[in-house]
Each structure stands twice: as C-alpha cells, then as structure tokens.
Symmetry: C2
Subunit: 342 residues, 2 copies
C-alpha cells in the first residue's frame, strides 16, 4: 500500500508554533474511495503563507480554523492521480486548495482549477502558488483597488522581499511611483535596491528605530502604505503619511505570534490626515479582476518585466520548520515546499 | 470707544488646556479700519468644537494652528456691524469663520455666508453652528459616504449625546439601522434612549469595561462604528465589529489631551474582518453634499423629525471653562457660547 505523510495540526499555539507541539507529522496508509466528482491529487508544491497562522487561532475568523488532528490545508499545485470527475482527468496539473501532505482527496474537486499546458510551459509550476497564484492576485488587486496609486506618489511596502511585497513594489515602479521598502536583513535590502530597483530600502532591525529609518528613506512622506507587518512599522507609517494617504491592510505578521500585541498610539492621524485604512481578502476581488490579473502578470513575467524570488524547501520533512521560519521572516522570497517532482 | 474682549491663545497645552495658562482673555479698544470687501462682525454665537484642540498642537495639521497671543477662531453666527462689502450689508446675519471674541474684522468677508430670513425664522440662530452647521454637515455626509448604512445593520456611535453623535444616531434610525450609543453620564444615556430613541445605550464609565458594555448592547456585533472617541472605545468597537465593517473616523477626543495616548492592540481585525477605517474633514464633502444637507436636515428639523440638544454657555466670560469642560465631556449636547443678544 502507498503511505501518505501529512503535516497535521496538534494544538493551538499562543506564540510561534513549535514543530512537534503544535504541528507535526502523521503517516497513514492511503485508502482512497472516491465518490462521484472527487479527485485524488499527488501534491507537487505546497504554499506556506502567513494567513495560515490565523487559521491556528481558536477564534472565529473569515476562514475556518484548522481542525486538531487533521492535516493542514492551503494552496498547492498537484497532479491528478485518480479521478471521478471528467473536468479533472488523470494526469492533469491543477492548482488550488489542497492538503499539506503527499496525497489529498478533494471532494468534488472543489476550489481546484486545471492549468492547461503547464507541463510544457516555461513558467515553473511553483509560480501558480506565488506570482501567478494567491500572492500575485493579492498584490495586483489590492494595490489597484485600495492603494489607488498615482504616478509621482510614494509608496512604502513592508515585508518588501516577501511573497506579496516584492510584487507590489515592482508594480508600483511600473506605475511611476517612488517605492520604499523595509525588510529584515541586509541581503533582502540589497535585493530590493539592486534587483527590484526600489528607490530606497532599509533593514528595520538596524540604524535606529523604524520611524527614523522611514523618515530617511521617505523624506517627503508617503502616500500609500502597503501593510504586511503591523505594530511599530504601522505606527511609523502613519506618522509620516501624507494627507489623503491609503493603508492597504494585507497582513500584520508581527502581531500573529504574540500574546502581547503592540499598541498603536497614533491612530489620530487617520482623522487628521484623512487616511483610508482598509483590509481585504483576496477572494473579494478575484471575480472582477481575475482575468486582468492573469493577462497582465502572466505577460510581465514572460517578458521579464517583473521578477519573482521563491524560497523553496525540498521535501515535506523539512517543511514544518520552514513554515515557522517564514512566520519569523527567515524566508527570502515566497515560501513554498516542493513535495514531489512532476 | 468700544472695548472688544477676546479669548486668546497663550501657550501650547500638552494635556487639557488650563484657563489662564493656555487660553485667557484680552480686552482691547476696537479700532476698525475696514479695507474694501472687509466686514466688522458683532459676534452672537461662537461654537466650541473638539477639533479646536488640534489647532492648539505645535505640529503641522490639516488646519493651521492657533497663533500665540492672537484670538482663537472658529465657527460662529454674527451680525454685520460695518461693511465695505455689498454682499454683506450692515444688519445681515451671517454664519462662518469668525473670532472667539465680541467683535471681529473679517478680511474680504471670507468664509462667511449670509443667512437670509434668519431674524424671522423659527430656527434658533445657534442652530447654524450646530445641527445646520459644521456638526450637522459632518454627521450627514460622513454617515452616508463612509458609513454606507443599510437598513437592518447595527451602528455604534460614541460620544453619542455630543454635537455630531446625536445627529448620526437619529439619521441612522431614520435609515432603519439598529442604533447603539455610548456616553459619559446616566443623564445622557437616558436622553439617548428616551428622547432620541436609540435601541441601546450605555454609560462607558460604569458596569464593567467598555467592551463588556458594548457586547451587552450589541450582541450581534456592529457593522458601522461612528468614531468620536478613540482609544479603548475604538479597541472595543473593532473587537465586536462584523465582517466588512466601516469605521467613520470623525474624531478621537480621548486622545487629544494626553501625552500618553492609548495603544490600540487589535488592529489585525482590520485585515481579518475586511474593515474600512476612514478619516475625513467635513469640507471634503461640503461641495457635493451641501445642498442636500440643507434641504434634508432643514426639513427634518422644522418637522421635528429630529431634535437637537445644545449646551449654551451665556457670555464670553464663562466660555474658556466651557471649552475645557467640552473636551472633558462635561457638556450635554452641542457646546456653544452665546456672546450677545441679537
């Protein structure tokens, strides 16, 4: 019999999850009984995303929490191994919602889509959980809809070398904005400046407070803050924001793994500077903007108008540690696990 | 010679302003030399508004700060006493930007408008700095534009017995919302429930934390938070807000008079619940919505579809203390000073 190794949810963490305590492995015999419309996937890539930490909380949220004792789930790329669904034939390459495991049964093949031509394409399969997947769609839609970028404005992007940030920065450059980024290592800052051509970038762990760094990098203030971090970085961004500024609230990763969240003390700027601070979930925009996204970003990628850095962990065994590392900012580029070769 | 008594700005306060230290009186002989287009006003009513505290800060803001040694300025109702401006004849009643003093010279009569028929109208003159003035316009436009109220939703209004809050609550009731308010005394809570017909209201100083009070008053959560207060009240509102909630950021009076602002720790809800949190200044909306406002609110007022409570201080001598009291929430209704009889 085939064995199926999964990463399962063990316990709600209050700080950073610990491998073995909050998430761990389970191996079971693969025992497939497909019903009509179901598919069995052989998973190839699995995406490690900050929002998954939110699913580990024991509170109601916009997305259901993970179930104790069950495999974790998320975005992935997979090959259809068995199928009772004509739209998803055996051998098809699909992306969508799957399990953090070697094989997954997806009832009704729900939330999957076939990637036609994926085997022959020059675009790597992992791109479908990155630049051409949820993070790409997030960057593309939210920058446009909430950020309302205008040429000549300044945007500040936190976690700027991350899955979403690196795309937001490059898209904003294409639109004629001045782009400032923050990241947690000198390597990442070099990448932002030299590879992604940001106008300014800083390592938020060095050279004074985040506010001091931001003031140096954006002496004329900022018009858009693309928020991935929260806490002290958000406070600094509000402090230097210009009138009518926009905060695109994509995530607040600094606040997910702590029982003592940072208290932001200068929200009065939202009134005084007439700021719009808006949260979203990428699926809010997918229907209206999905087609534009695939066309625009697909062609930018093929034409090398944008580049995209991934941080690929090889094999499921190392992947729980890679997940925790991603929450701690240790990844350099979009965090993804390669579970198997095609 | 005629004497002109003014309230002047003495020093930037860091906490609550102190009368005699930060604001005080000055009396000068009235020596009027009008240039072409100027008018001399005899001030009748002067409006005491929370935003004025922002003009006492030593920082750049959306509105210029007060000048040390000069009379404070704000919204008022006045009679034209002398005029070199044909559009503002002697005897006309005007509202607009004037001084916190007995007489004011307004160069070019700028930011004034004539109130035709004001002497004969059943509407009291003070209404033009309240329900028919800036607070009314604020409530009317921001509830509509930022709040996007829908029948059946729940709105929570803080400082609900104040100049803006009492109108927001009544307008929301007219639109079919469930209306919850907070205020700082039992008298005000009684007024909200019994006179303004709020569905629920609480005294935020009693019966547990603000969050506990709010959960009892809004067990199904809230869809709109009309923000006048900031700090702990804002944190509680975010905690109970439903998905796609809106925060109309009108003011944050709890944060204006302190050097130790409250740190709001749960801004992650803005991401997770897809909240839109937006600040504004009433003049942003005045052009587009001014005509609708005058028509709608004027007729509601005449038809007694809405009521409006004012807290009138008689005479300029008591007015600096009334201003500080307003910042401390001691006013019950819109704070206004009656400087002189018509």
């Amino acid at each position: 019999m085939v064995q199926n190794k999964s990463v399962v949810f063990l316990k709600h963490p209050s700080d950073y999850p610990v491998v073995g305590e909050h998430i761990g492995f389970q191996t079971k015999e693969l025992n497939v009984e497909l019903k009509d419309k179901d598919v069995l996937l052989r998973n190839l890539y699995f995406s490690l995303d900050p929002y998954m930490r939110g699913r580990m909380r024991d509170v109601k949220s916009y997305i259901p929490g993970f179930s104790i004792g069950e495999p974790l789930t998320g975005y992935g790329v997979a090959e259809v191994k068995e199928s009772k669904n004509d739209a998803f034939p055996v051998g098809a390459i699909v992306s969508g919602f799957t399990g953090w495991e070697e094989y997954s049964v997806v009832p009704g093949a729900s939330r999957l889509r076939v990637l036609p031509g994926a085997r022959e394409s020059p675009i790597p399969l992992s791109a479908h959980v990155g630049v051409l997947g949820m993070p790409g769609m997030t960057a593309y839609t939210s920058l446009k809809i909430i950020g309302k970028p205008k040429a000549g404005e300044t945007i500040f992007v936190s976690a700027a070398a991350g899955a979403v940030g690196q795309l937001v920065g490059q898209m904003a450059k294409k639109l004629g904005l001045r782009v400032v980024g923050s990241a947690g290592s000198d390597d990442k800052v070099d990448y932002l400046i030299n590879e992604l051509k940001f106008d300014a970038a800083f390592n938020y762990k060095k050279n004074g407070t985040i506010l001091e760094n931001l003031k140096r990098a954006a002496p004329e203030g900022i018009d858009i803050y693309y928020e991935n971090v929260g806490g002290e970085t958000l406070e600094a961004a509000l402090e230097v924001m210009n009138d009518h500024g926009r905060v695109v609230a994509c995530g607040m990763i600094s606040q997910y793994n702590t029982q003592t969240p940072y208290g932001v003390r200068n929200l009065f700027h939202i009134v005084a500077k007439r700021i719009t601070f808006r949260g979203f979930v990428v699926t809010d925009f997918a229907e209206e903007y999905g087609a534009d996204f695939v066309k625009d970003v697909g062609s930018w990628l093929v034409n090398k108008d944008i580049i995209y850095k991934e941080d690929v962990t090889e094999g499921i065994d190392a992947s729980p540690e890679a997940f925790v590392g991603m929450l701690q900012g240790k990844n350099f580029g979009k965090a993804v696990v390669k579970i198997a070769d095609l």
